[in-house]
């Protein structure tokens, strides 16, 4: 194993961080660049930015946010939200993103994944999968969770990895924002279905939930927003807790001078 990554997620709308509960009722919690620096110092292993702006101006602002973050934070950055074509990858990567996460556009045109993977490498092609249980079946939703697709989660995951996706960001819409913990059955089933790294997302309320995601869900990385943004737990607390549970994490490095 590599060390399990802890990835704070910043949902950004028009240049400000927001965090939703079940994708609605957004609360503004601040400046993304300042927050990214705080997470960098705190020992985050990677940062994830999701742009949920609806307007063209909001999307332009995101490029500035990524660029300003990459100026001072020397960590891997994953960026998603509103990515619709190969040009978007190019532009986000040139701002300093290392990985680009795509969701609805890949459902519209799966070839986007193959094209991006060939051009930029599988390691930079993350596919975000939003999953909600419908009649006992894990269904994939697009458009920020508003639209049900015909895909079942595990089938879609196998399709996109065959096309060259290098990582899956798996969100349980049933759990997102509830603090009730990851959907462990979904994570474990996904772990069996694909060989690429899986980032678990949606529902973290306690540090034990992070441990469960790794030990029972078999994921390679855990993503969380609320518990870190609202200061419920720090990243170093999370790492200590996971290390005590026997999970290998990257320890904090002594800072220079």
């Amino acid at each position: 194993m590599s060390t399990v990554r802890i990835i704070p997620c910043l949902d950004v709308k028009d240049g400000h961080i927001v965090k939703g509960v079940n994708f609605v009722g957004l609360r503004n919690v601040g400046d993304p660049v300042a927050q990214a620096k705080v997470y960098d110092q705190a020992g985050a292993d990677e940062l994830c930015f999701l742009d949920i702006s609806a307007s063209a101006e909001g999307k332009e602002t995101m490029y500035d946010v990524i660029s300003a973050t990459a100026d001072s934070v020397f960590l891997p950055l994953t960026v998603g939200g509103g990515v619709s074509q190969v040009l978007d990858y190019q532009r986000l990567l040139s701002c300093g993103a290392d990985k680009v996460s795509v969701n609805s556009a890949a459902l519209n045109d799966p070839n986007l994944i193959a094209e991006a993977s060939q051009r930029f490498g599988a390691q930079c092609v993350v596919v975000a999968i939003d999953v909600k249980t419908v009649d006992g079946v894990w269904k994939v939703f697009s458009h920020g969770g508003r639209r049900e697709t015909a895909w079942q989660a595990l089938d879609w995951a196998q399709r996109i990895t065959a096309l060259g996706a290098g990582e899956i960001l798996l969100t349980s819409m049933d759990r997102d924002g509830t603090g009730a913990g990851f959907d462990l059955a979904l994570l474990a089933a996904m772990r069996q279905a694909v060989t690429v790294p899986i980032i678990a997302s949606g529902g973290v309320g306690t540090l034990q939930h992070l441990v469960d995601g790794v030990q029972q869900g078999g994921v390679d990385a855990v993503l969380a927003a609320s518990i870190f943004h609202f200061g419920i737990h720090s990243i170093s607390e999370a790492k200590r807790y996971m290390a005590n549970a026997g999970i290998t994490v990257r320890p904090l490095v002594n800072h220079e001078g």
Binding site: M1, S2, T3, V4, R5, D40, D45, A70, D71, F74, L75, P76, L93, S94, C95, G96, D98, K99, Q118, R119, F120, G121, A122, Q123, C124, G166, E167, T195, V196, P197, I198, D220, A221, R250, P251, V253, N254, H255, E256
Partner: protein, 210 residues
């Protein structure tokens, strides 16, 4: 002193630029696809993301580029750093997609991680692993501990001679994390994305006088 990052269109050039600029003292850091500028570099950096063959083709597509790089690194013995695919290009051959010849400066082949032998390890290898130097070298002096760095790759450098592997990392099995020969060195990981450890290594590179 000039440190030139070779801009061949497929790398995360700006991130490498920002990190080098962050640690540069005596150096001016710039990125360029102009062979004349590359021919005047004191230190050369070749970043790379994407497929081996894409990278190699974009280097050879630019007139004079390969010659300028060869001249600086091989004839004038300027310190040269390849990052990720930029490191893999130092090999004789890369097997990604249809396969493609590399620069051939360090004997070896770039092959996929063998999934069958790496149980419980997802591919690509994406995340932080410890590098263990196999020799005492200025590049890895005084790195903050633990010396963990960020990897994102599905292919690995199989060096023909153990002497060319300067540091190893383990992900399912042990592989070459840093390869080198005289003034040429390559890192499979991304120092520009590896916080203090990566910045310290880049600073060592700029101070390196092989």
């Amino acid at each position: 002193m000039k440190c030139v990052i070779v801009n061949h269109g497929s790398g995360n050039v700006r991130s490498v630029f920002r990190a080098l600029e962050h640690v540069a003292e005596a150096h001016r850091v710039l990125f360029s696809n102009d062979p004349d500028i590359i021919a005047n570099a004191d230190h050369l950096v070749l970043p790379g993301v994407g497929a081996f063959s894409n990278c190699m083709h974009s280097l050879s597509a630019r007139p004079g580029m390969l010659v300028a790089i060869q001249q600086q690194a091989r004839e004038h013995q300027r310190p040269f750093l390849g990052i990720c695919v930029g490191m893999q290009l130092l090999a004789d051959y890369g097997e990604e997609y249809d396969g493609c010849s590399g620069l051939g400066w360090i004997p070896g082949r770039v092959k996929p991680f063998d999934l069958a032998k790496i149980q419980d390890c997802a591919i690509p290898h994406m995340g932080w692993s410890t590098i263990v130097p196999t020799r005492d070298h200025p590049l890895t002096h005084n790195l903050p501990q633990p010396a963990m760095v960020y990897f994102a790759h599905s292919f690995v450098f199989h060096a023909a001679k153990p002497a060319n592997v300067w540091a190893q990392a383990t992900y399912g099995k042990t592989f070459g994390a840093i390869v080198g020969a005289q003034n040429v060195v390559g890192t499979q990981f991304h120092p520009e994305k590896s916080q203090q450890v990566g910045l310290a290594l880049l600073k060592n590179f700029l101070n390196w006088r092989p």
